[in-house]
Symmetry: C2
Subunit: 618 residues, 2 copies
Amino acid sequence: MDSDYGIPRELSDLQKLRSLYQPQLPPCLEGTAVRVEFGDTTTSLDPADAHTIARAFPHTFGKPLAHFFRPTAKVPDAQVITEHPAVRVGLVFCGRQSPGGHNVIWGLHKALKIHNPNSTLLGFLGGTQGLFAQKTLEITDDILSTYKNQGGYDLLGRTQDQIRTTEQVQASLAACNDLKLDGLVIIGGVTSNTDAAQLAETFAEAKCPTKVVGVPVTLNGDLKNQFVETNVGFDTICKVNSQLISNVCTDALSAEKYYYFIRLMGRKASHVALECTLQSHPNMVILGEEVAASKLTLFDITKQICDAVQARAEQDKNHGVILLPEGLIESIPEVYALLKEIHSLLRQNVPADKISSQLSPWASALFEFLPLFIRKQLLLHPESDDSAQLSQIETEKLLAHLVENEINMRLKAGTYKGKKFNAICHFFGYQARGSLPSKFDCDYAYVLGHVCYHVLAAGLNGYMATITNLKNPVNKWRCGAAPITAMMTVKRWSQNPNSLSVGKPAIHPATVDLKGKAYELLRQNATRFLLDDIYRNPGPLQFDGPGADAKAVTLCVEDQDYMGRIKKLQEYLDKVRTIVKPGCSQEVLKAALSVMASVTEVLSVMSSSPSPSGAQTL
Amino acid sequence: MDSDYGIPRELSDLQKLRSLYQPQLPPCLEGTAVRVEFGDTTTSLDPADAHTIARAFPHTFGKPLAHFFRPTAKVPDAQVITEHPAVRVGLVFCGRQSPGGHNVIWGLHKALKIHNPNSTLLGFLGGTQGLFAQKTLEITDDILSTYKNQGGYDLLGRTQDQIRTTEQVQASLAACNDLKLDGLVIIGGVTSNTDAAQLAETFAEAKCPTKVVGVPVTLNGDLKNQFVETNVGFDTICKVNSQLISNVCTDALSAEKYYYFIRLMGRKASHVALECTLQSHPNMVILGEEVAASKLTLFDITKQICDAVQARAEQDKNHGVILLPEGLIESIPEVYALLKEIHSLLRQNVPADKISSQLSPWASALFEFLPLFIRKQLLLHPESDDSAQLSQIETEKLLAHLVENEINMRLKAGTYKGKKFNAICHFFGYQARGSLPSKFDCDYAYVLGHVCYHVLAAGLNGYMATITNLKNPVNKWRCGAAPITAMMTVKRWSQNPNSLSVGKPAIHPATVDLKGKAYELLRQNATRFLLDDIYRNPGPLQFDGPGADAKAVTLCVEDQDYMGRIKKLQEYLDKVRTIVKPGCSQEVLKAALSVMASVTEVLSVMSSSPSPSGAQTL
């Protein structure tokens, strides 16, 4: 199996041209010396979690942020790293394949060689299994040549998505020791980066010198927090899916007789569905987050879609396009409860055909109400993160089926007067995942690869490479690193009033912020999208000309720049300190004290109230 | 409903750029005067059909070919058309939407206005229904501006795919008379162009002055014959599908654990599947034509795929990509027989749930053997062309299911030693159909629009606009027109030895020629495709740079240029006539007679034997 990894690929003409594309570096990473400045020590988003996380990660929690600058930048207290001994770094593809992953390797390799030609980059073959079995491939310019700016993970492959059991962690420790690695770079999403943090802690505890760095690469776009604006692969996935959704919209408008139900890959969160909606303007999208927030039942959702179909029919429109995130099914409260019962029975090794009879009465009633094909899919074993096998559950067919029944009933009752309802169902996922990466993803991944090197050169362990200010051109990007533990939250849930269970600290998938600007943009346009058919067609992914430099709408409308604000705050605090130095006048000191007293009071109150986008209690 | 047709669209940046693209004209269509030369009168491909077709089309069968030349071209006997009175032309989208359709309108409108600014182009709104109801939109430059080089059929819409019943034909005749049309252009595939020929004949019989012209626009690529090399839309569909297939191949290679079963749109024939295979090099394709030719059963096909999976597993490859044309299901003899029984019962109004019990014993046995979801799909009412609802029958899921069962049996028996077999199924159709057209389709459709005008200016009725030599650059394209009746064949089938049924003459979908060069290319590479994973990734559809000017492999490898050869032959015949003019020497005359005698004898023998790619007897 391994024999195929890293072999040169035959490239098509377009791929050849892409392989010649050279992403730019932001000024802070140019040259051979880099200045690193450590910010304040970090905490967790929800102050209530800090204690639990600190206890689980005694060596790696509460570390400072790191910012990288040009050596010439005027930053006080920054540390200039000029010595670059030869290092050995390992890299593993850990999550699901996401367009751009190869460019992280390229960027890291390039940075290693610029700073010391004797440094070595080892890629683990076959993902985590290669890590456990110490199967490596030394990355060279030659090997990289047919993988630069190309899609897939086929240079190194990937297997399981986790490094979690004691055996897995010990095997990883042994690999890093045996291979004398100075650094281990883990490429993946929320699960993989949580594992990376655990590895870092274990390594620190075991006094293993290998530093662990995580890289946010996941098409789901759900590794999003104060420090991380978007993930490698998300941009490409949304562009390819939007191309197809727009094609379907054009198709709907041409024949005017079909309703297309399109399910989109993206795991629990609905980021892909939201972004594609803002790109393509389909008639409707049902976000899992909306359903969860409003506790909508299957019946509610069906009614909502039927009402939309009816409203359109009244305008003589008998076609439409409806997007559904794959995570929607788990967001529906009664289905979620049913899934929990099923998974619990599966874990007790109850055979699939016996499960129905062992469900609670109302779960059983729901189960029996569902069409046969969905029942089969709900009975599949859960994934490693305990969620259902979302890519296998055809929610689009379920809803199309329920809507068709309801519309037929309304037709009989005379409330619906439109034409016969025809649904066509699609699942867009695998056909986008292997795409050539967009320019943005090529750039983002390549620069992240460079950042990884700097994180390692600064001797940081358990950090994630970060780039912020991404909505601006590359030369404005801010590079840094944040402790992975600072991105963690702790889930609490009560099975009964007497016991509160506390989960392990982890990075949890960020859901769509229903108070955010991207969602607001959707709500503002929802009625026009629904009724006016203002379909937008960004066209196929281009690498030149109009659209080639377009960035995700959700990235551009959100006013993120958290890292920039953290820096700005630091500047203000420093300024106060400079102004109110011992020797200043009594009046100035009094004024400062009075103002700062009220500032700290307000901030304390704000921090102790539950965070709006904090831990979910699902 | 009509209110949406023809309204200006909001275009994305890429679409705006595309709308500015101006296709070139071949030299023969430049300027305002055109020379038309009439070739020999045409016959049908199978001489046995000629009589039947001639009887059905007394006014329109046996007409000569038409070739268009520059007025300065040295062509004896050519007729120069310099007078261009103002004309009124109607245009209707008749078949399914196919990328490029809008450019036929643009090309025709442009040609009309160049030759006489007072000419009028009326688009029928809502396809054939608009034709019957005389709902029109006058095409203007303004209206066209946001539809040039754009996908879909949303400028005019389309509804049913046929103009066939007496009412429909009479309504069309009335529309053409009432609207005083000089010409009616019908855009569509095999069915629509057959209907166009019938309309032309009816109009001629009724002494209606409207001339009918057909245009070969169908993504299926199955309107292929001596005169037509490819169809508008086919190139785009294959490029978009190949992009997605290649993405899936990259995905398969990255995770190395899935078998992807991908069904492709394209109706009965497997042209799309063949072209996509030659573009993307997936591991396997099963063409309907191969299955029909070898009379492979469901069991044979399952075994063939399982053997492939097993051979790959022996090389430690547990992933793969398999393409299936949607027409495959009808090519499997026992399934075809079952479908015929079902359709016959449906036509007798037997309700779907009673059909199983009324099937013949062995059809019933097959039906009961099939999984429930396929049974439901086979029970759907047939399409207007009597074929099953191919887009609704999930052949890919059926085969994945059968292969999984068989592999599990082999696993138990110890003959298969690979990993657990995991299949993921896809249907690629609707998501490609609405795509922005490729450059080739933009050009082809635009030039065909111009040709339509010339056909009408030459006063031809019942012709199809044709362009040949398409694999060469636009300035080498040869423009002409051929009587649609010359593309017809007649199906004959015997229900029992005593009665031979003869079908109505029609253009039948051309199937993949198993003796053709494209298929040969596939066979030569089949083993490497299967075992070596030489996946090729043409990338997303580009409009500039590498790949933008690529043409379909099947178009380029076939040595078609039939029209060029017909012209060449004419030149030889003329030369013989010139050399052997009365007054030439006895020796020359004798030699000519002797040679021509044997030539004619050989050709007669060849023509009377059944044509290799002739009428199918399905």
